[in-house]
Assembly symmetry: C2
Homo-oligomer: 346 residues x 2
Amino acid sequence: MTRWAVILAGGVGSRFWPLSTPARPKQLLPLVDSEPLLANAVRRMAAIAAPANTLVLTNAELRDAVAGVLPQLPQENIIAEPRPSGTAAALAWAASEVVTRDPEGVMVCIHADWAISDEAMFASTLRDAAALAESTGELVTVGIVPSRPDTGFGYIELGEQVEGGFRVKRFIEKPDREGAKLLVSSGALWNSGIFCWRARDFLSELRKHTPEVATALDQHAMARASRSKEEFFAFVRPVSVDVGLLERSENVLVVRGAFGWDDVGTWAALRRARSPDADGNVVSGRTHLKESRNNVVHAEGDAVVLYGVENLVVVSRPGLTLVTTVEKSEELKTLVDSLPPEIKDK
Amino acid sequence: MTRWAVILAGGVGSRFWPLSTPARPKQLLPLVDSEPLLANAVRRMAAIAAPANTLVLTNAELRDAVAGVLPQLPQENIIAEPRPSGTAAALAWAASEVVTRDPEGVMVCIHADWAISDEAMFASTLRDAAALAESTGELVTVGIVPSRPDTGFGYIELGEQVEGGFRVKRFIEKPDREGAKLLVSSGALWNSGIFCWRARDFLSELRKHTPEVATALDQHAMARASRSKEEFFAFVRPVSVDVGLLERSENVLVVRGAFGWDDVGTWAALRRARSPDADGNVVSGRTHLKESRNNVVHAEGDAVVLYGVENLVVVSRPGLTLVTTVEKSEELKTLVDSLPPEIKDK
């Protein structure tokens, strides 16, 4: 079996404003250590696949920035999507690349903007999931053992146990608070977006269940004579792989993952993804804190001095400093949408 | 009567860190409007005395900076003290200047770092106090009608009423909370540091009561042959005019002042000295606030964005941003003393 690492690195985000911007989204920020999250992700996947077998999908506008942080990858393995087209299309194009180069290749798909606390367990779980995908020919998703009743994720209910995993009983959209508690206590898993499958099995299931993608796939992605990425992404209809395929297919297995996965969705989430100091603060850059607890401070611009404050998020970039609370940092989009251009894009 | 404005503009302060530094203390900061407090003070005293009759006393290190913000004053009216020597010495030297130039001159003394909300009432009260000083030959202090039981000021207890004012019954050092409440309810006034007296009356009282200053005064300040500012300040013993003279003299009157005086002692005090917006925020510089109340924001460096926060003090200067609470900003010296040099003097 040859494994292929497929890393989804598209998407823009306002949740890490003022550091994240369309030109420098979350996956290009050094949020967990001194490297961008994307570089963390590619390093992490070195345990799964060689650089020649690692594909990174991103927006056309980010292609150069992505290539800049990944000098170890062959240029042709960085695939620019000409427009946002949903994860089903991105993975379909990646699958078409894999089968073209390696008809039996198994894809191990992740997102570029996560934090993982136990890298060894992560790699071992993904290798097992890839082996399960190869031996069964099914679509294998890795569900995360929840550490809290989070309402920000979809959940996966487990069905019958099989050798090496479980059948998926049901995918559940983001629940409310009570629903999340019930799901966690019933043993449901977070739908992480980690997928393992043989590329040809995935394409075969897509043709059965996902007409939004299948038509463009066979006309523009698989047809050797007229293979055209631009036309494929122009014709494909945007849909997520969850809605467009996994919820429709019968051939989906789930493997339990317990390796400290976090999608680092907000500044506040850095308190989970990194180790707070004895006072509960998570800091990076030039900072000085006195009598201050449970803050997140990220100083890429001005040095930041905190004195006698709690539960704040303080972020500096050159020319601008944001001060908000851990709680309000979950709603940062509301702020960003309200900003005048001279502040927002400063 | 010729009035002389005497403005004390010495003193360093850490209470407005990170903006205030030894090279740029509070009186040189634009805290109340776009001008430095010292420029406010000199403009304010234009209602009392002409520029030729306005003396500003400051530290030797600050002389050039002070002269820079006061181009309208004759250079010789900006008097640099070679070392910190207490207000008694500073006012004694100023008095020696005044009597040398104008034997009957009446000094109206203030500090450079205040906020005044009713400038017309301020000028009118000081003119009345100067007239009282001239007509009685006594030392006249202006006591401020307290707006709150502040424990940060000394108080003046009123004695017998006289034409145009009161005798001083007693000066009281900074009280505790209960003491302050009792003083306010009994009609005591804040000891502001506003003094009016004929220069020769003041010097005469100094000779009676203040040997710390009187010896140096007669040897180095009044002796025409050997008049030397450097020697006067080298020999004088540091003492405040309150302790060294006013508390010892019987010839002290007090006039009630009600013109919105504030010594702007802390960042939090800006909420009193300036008009907060509808959300209770006091802001200056490039700022953007959303869902934020009762904050003080002063942005001389980075633009500052606040979102969903309350009762904070946020101050940016080029290269550094401070975040603290309104409450902790009263104890800023504790922070500043703890800072490593690369942050403190950044």
